[in-house]
Amino acid sequence: MSKFLIVAEHLGGKLNSSTARCVSCAQAIAGAEIHVAVLSDAPEAVAAEAARIAGVAKVITVANAANAHPVAQVLAPQVAKLAAGYSHVFGPSTTFGKDLMPCVAALLGVAQVSDIMAVEGPHVFKRPIYAGNAIITVEAPSSMAVVGTVRTASWPAAGNGGAAAVEAASVDAALPSHTRFVSLQQGKSDRPDLQGASKVVSGGRALGSADAFKIIYSLADKMGAAVGASRAAVDAGYVPNELQVGQTGKIIAPELYVAIGISGAIQHLTGIKDAGTIVAINKDAEAPIFEIADFGLVGDLFQIVPELEQSL
């Protein structure tokens, strides 16, 4: 019988939707018993949210002032202790999970399965390699716990309606003091979160300036969409880093993805391959983005984008 421990991701007292996506992944294994661990300085509010996720049997809280910020080397020994008795320890394949889970795997002396996109059995998973250009089937040893990160774009967030018990745990682990959290500078935005949004409008190098990028924000606001960007637009300083979509940025799977002035390098395409419908607007009819777009429109984005906004 599979018993899952999912490490909750949260920020500012709110649970991240990546946690409910990990629950969906765990539920792909028949009969799995799913527990969620919330490590925080004040876990109550997050734990209450996690307890409502359908499919969660129990929420375990570890309250410790050292857990006020997610420092991987501080969280890892605690998660490794909690992991006793579990067949699977999963976290999301976000910067939080990617930072933390390999540490947990190393402490448990097991390999990690990164970016799980499909479950074939309790120990057999599919994951992408080479920027999503090959999908491999990997088998983890059944004699040890499986440590994995869940590719959030491959799994829907499990719904609400659960009523799991919340249980406080005390963990006896030596925590290092060699790392000090200094600050988190958040991009302030009222727009939907890029990784959870059902619609995303992205801009690329062709916008030409941070100022010109405003037409992307304006269109996104009209559509109720999140804003993304290609690496070129981020490198040129048009938008902050956290908006980058692609192999090394965020991997997303919105219902609608609108790529504007993005040529479509392999590294960008890997971030959007699972989008429901892809729209490409580009003046170059030969741009690789048109190979994967469901609807393509060739033309000058500075004419098309305002026109598109008006007609919505």
């Binding site: 889970m101 990690q112 080479y130 090959a134 392999i266």
Partner: protein, 248 residues
Amino acid sequence: MKILVGYKRVVDYNVRIQVKPDGSGVVTEGVKLSANPFDDIALEEALRLRDKGIATEVVVATLGPADCQAHLRNGLAMGANRAIHVVTDQAVQPLTAARALLKLVEKEQPQIVLLGKQAIDDDANQTGQMLATLWGRPQATFAGKVEVNGDHATVVREVDAGLETLEVQLPAVITTDLRLNEPRFIKLPDIMKAKSKPLETIAFADLGVEAGDHLKTSHYAPPAKRSKGVMVKDVAELVSALKAKGLV
């Protein structure tokens, strides 16, 4: 101080790889190989710390087959002082790589280990974190900015929520994100100079690391193809197509 840089050789990032029809792997014969882009950034950062007088020696290390020597010479030509080649013909998984790097760390006693945040072939994003854990030292992953002051480093990390700043005591493991720096180009005279720089080879078996094929890969497949799209002639046609699908 000494900086150890992990320097993996991978299929060049511009190559569009092909999955073998029998599902046994991807085609790597005759394909252009290069340094993992994130590792070039790691090496560049180490060299800049040396240029600033913070580091005194930069050592590049790789795990790979015998023909990885040319790859390491590139790292030396870029500016590393020495190279270490752990020779193995096996594909190395991150846990094994971390265990092997720990042996090199114990031997070399670096103050900073700089690695790329992920290799663009296996896209695992694990080795740096595993090394820091096995070593019992701090980690600062996805670094966008590194400042070293005496016995600690201040690292700005690129996280989903924005930019996080951590202060870590040295020695520590730092993994690089794309925007940390712009790696320098190799100049011809440096290629000549690199030929006489020290390159130590160590047989993997001599490290005393349990290799372990931790995860078994049973099958390779190409990604699911998206169905062929259509080109629309103007905004009106695009909007009506999206309306028909209930997307706007």
